[in-house]
Amino acid sequence: MTTEIKFNAETMATVQQIIARYPAGKQKSALLPVLHIAQAEFDGWLSPEVMDYVASILNLQPIEVYEVASFYSMYNLKPVGKCLLEVCRTSSCWLRGAEDVVKHIEKRLGIKEGETTTDGMFTLKTVECLGSCGTAPMLMCGAQFHENLTLEKVDALLDNLRRENKRKTYFDDVVIESY
């Protein structure tokens, strides 16, 4: 666990670059990108302390950060496992077997949707359309899309992720599989 809530110099420089994209005085525009960075840096979720820290950097009231973080689905307001499995449940993915994928993961990991494995490795979440309808069913883990899923592919993925034992973030490099 990270103890001190403070970006290192390199991350702070990135944050300053982001703030410079907007006109003077409009640094609030940096809130969404900076929250993504904060979530990646501080164990994959936004604690009230992390959100207060972001508020102080952007010169905002804490409430301005809380109300945004709670509006958007990508910000986790509770701790999550190292690998957040975001399974698309909408329309085309549903037509092509998303419910089977969810049930299979629940069985394999012994958790229900929304829960985290006791070892803190996986959290299972279902999400709305991720724009991967032509390669359905799919799930996202970190920035990586895992597409054209079969139950065998899901098994292999879970094994690989467990072996890697690394926290996945939206800033990871990805392999582009297919379209």
Binding site: R21, P23, K26, K28, S29, A30, L31, L32, P33, L35, H36, L58, E64, E67, V68, F71, Y72, S73, M74, Y75, R89, T90, S91, S92, W94, L95, R96, E99, V127, E128, C129, L130, G131, S132, C133, G134, T135, A136, M140, A143, Q144, F145, Y170, F171, D173, V174, I176, Y179
Partner: protein, 453 residues
């Protein structure tokens, strides 16, 4: 094979990078615009092209551009809407990740036309890897002198930035997108004023979809008239169709507007027919929000004319017998799909994505989801079907933004065209739970599945 205006070079190795993109004729539209055309001449070509917004609404782009206010001393902005999240739509991800420079070129040419010196591409957060691809391409464009100060010696300056979203369908609505870009919750604004008058930071702003901005490149290169010569009537040019569901070849197809729907579904050039050679049951032709149509009405209009992939032909018959081209998210359902269960899935989506500002949408989508869950769970009544119908009517047209309409239309059309199937669910009571969410898990046709209960 139809002409490809956007994706002609998409399979050229290395086209993601600047060198190859430039060698294949990339950035010619910027060169032509900033060196030989006045901004208003670029707007004029876009008007002549007949290009219509490719995000879903289909509003004429040239007209939208001409509404942009130009007060002295006030900055103007171009914002690209890359918040692609309409279920069934994945074309913008394809275009941005495979041809990032095409979008950047379109952004420069369009920003020049509008007199914007700072522009943003708002990309849904779930596409973070696409953001990395775009940022790399933008850095290459700066290095080659296509962005920054005095672009190609023309005296025109432009800075271009990518902004991530946080995961919210509503931010595809242009004023919600602007709120989000300002670092707020994605609550749509009351209009007027429209963004053309008061948009980002209260300044005049144009918001355009990724594909719309990409289409400006061939329009400027070849001229608006050449673009308008493709297609049928007011459906000019080409359109990216995201094909998914029960088809043999899901994927992105760039079509000349006017291809018959039947050809699009069954020809090997496009979807290649229905998966496992099953029968077609229904199609959602333009993303989850547009009315669902059964086989007979998607292949032919009520008057018996072949239905074409154009804005007008798909809308023929209004909502009684027609639908919309929308975003081009073409979702195909085979005979095994349960329409009530599919509708529950769609409605859960709208309930989840409602921003919560307007009561009819916030409460209505949740109420519809609950009633649909009750029906598919075997506890519904005939009155519930009527109640659903009444509810959707009270949502449509009574909200600040079109999300309410988008939630109402799938419900209205499913009941209009498939009421008998809802009644089937109600009739069988709790036994309906034995019918799988789609019947082909048991390889059953629906009639056999229902009659076995």
């Amino acid at each position: 094979m139809g002409r490809k205006l956007l994706t002609e070079h998409i399979n050229v190795p290395g086209i993601q990078g600047y060198e190859v993109y430039r060698k294949m004729g990339g950035y010619a539209s910027v060169e032509k615009a900033v060196k030989t055309m006045k901004p208003e001449e670029v707007v004029e070509e876009v008007k002549k092209s007949g290009l219509r917004g490719r995000g879903g609404a289909g509003f004429p782009t040239g007209m939208k551009w001409s509404f942009l206010a130009k007060p002295e001393g006030v900055p103007r902005y171009l914002v690209c809407n890359a918040d692609e999240s309409e279920p069934g739509t994945f074309k913008d991800r394809y275009l941005m990740s495979r041809l990032p420079h095409l979008l950047i070129e379109g952004m420069i040419t369009s920003s020049y036309a509008l007199g914007a010196n700072t522009s943003y591409i708002y990309v849904r957060g779930e596409y973070y890897y696409v953001i990395a691809i775009l940022e790399k391409a933008i850095a290459e464009a700066y290095a080659a002198g296509w962005l920054g100060k005095n672009i190609q010696g023309s005296g025109y300056d432009l800075d271009l930035y990518v902004q991530p979203g946080g995961g919210a369908y509503i931010c595809g609505e242009e004023t919600a997108l602007l709120e989000s870009l300002e670092g707020k919750r994605g609550n749509p604004r009351i209009k007027p004023p429209f963004p053309a008058i008061a948009g980002l930071y209260g300044c005049p702003t144009v918001v355009n979809n990724v594909e719309t901005i990409a289409a400006v490149v061939p329009i400027v290169n070849q001229g608006g008239d050449a673009y308008a010569a493709i297609g049928i009537g007011k459906s000019t040019g080409t359109k990216l169709i995201s094909a998914s569901g029960h088809i043999k070849k899901p994927g992105i197809y760039e079509i000349e507007l006017g291809v018959p729907v039947e050809e699009f579904i069954y020809s090997d050039e496009y979807c290649g027919g229905i998966l496992n050679d099953k029968k077609l049951k229904a199609v959602v032709a333009g993303g989850s929000s547009v009315p669902i149509l059964p086989t007979d009405l998607i292949l032919k209009t009520a008057a018996g004319e072949p239905r074409l992939m154009t804005y007008e032909s798909l809308a023929d018959g209004g909502f009684a017998t027609g639908t919309m081209l929308g975003s081009g998210g073409f979702i195909v359902m085979d005979e095994t799909v349960s329409i009530p269960k599919n509708l529950w899935n769609f409605t859960r989506f709208y309930h989840h994505e409602s921003c919560g500002q307007c009561s009819p949408c916030r409460e209505g989508t949740g109420w519809m989801e609950k009633i649909l869950h009750k029906i598919v769970d075997g506890h519904g009544s005939l009155e519930d079907i009527d109640l659903l119908w009444e509810l959707q009517r009270k949502i449509e047209g009574n909200t600040i933004c079109p999300l309410g309409d988008a939630a109402a239309w799938p419900v209205a059309s499913a009941i209009r065209h498939f009421r008998a199937e809802f009644e089937e669910y109600v009739k069988h009571g709790e036994k309906i739970k034995d019918v799988k969410y789609y019947f082909h898990t048991n390889n059953m046709d629906p009639a056999a599945a229902y009659s076995s209960l």
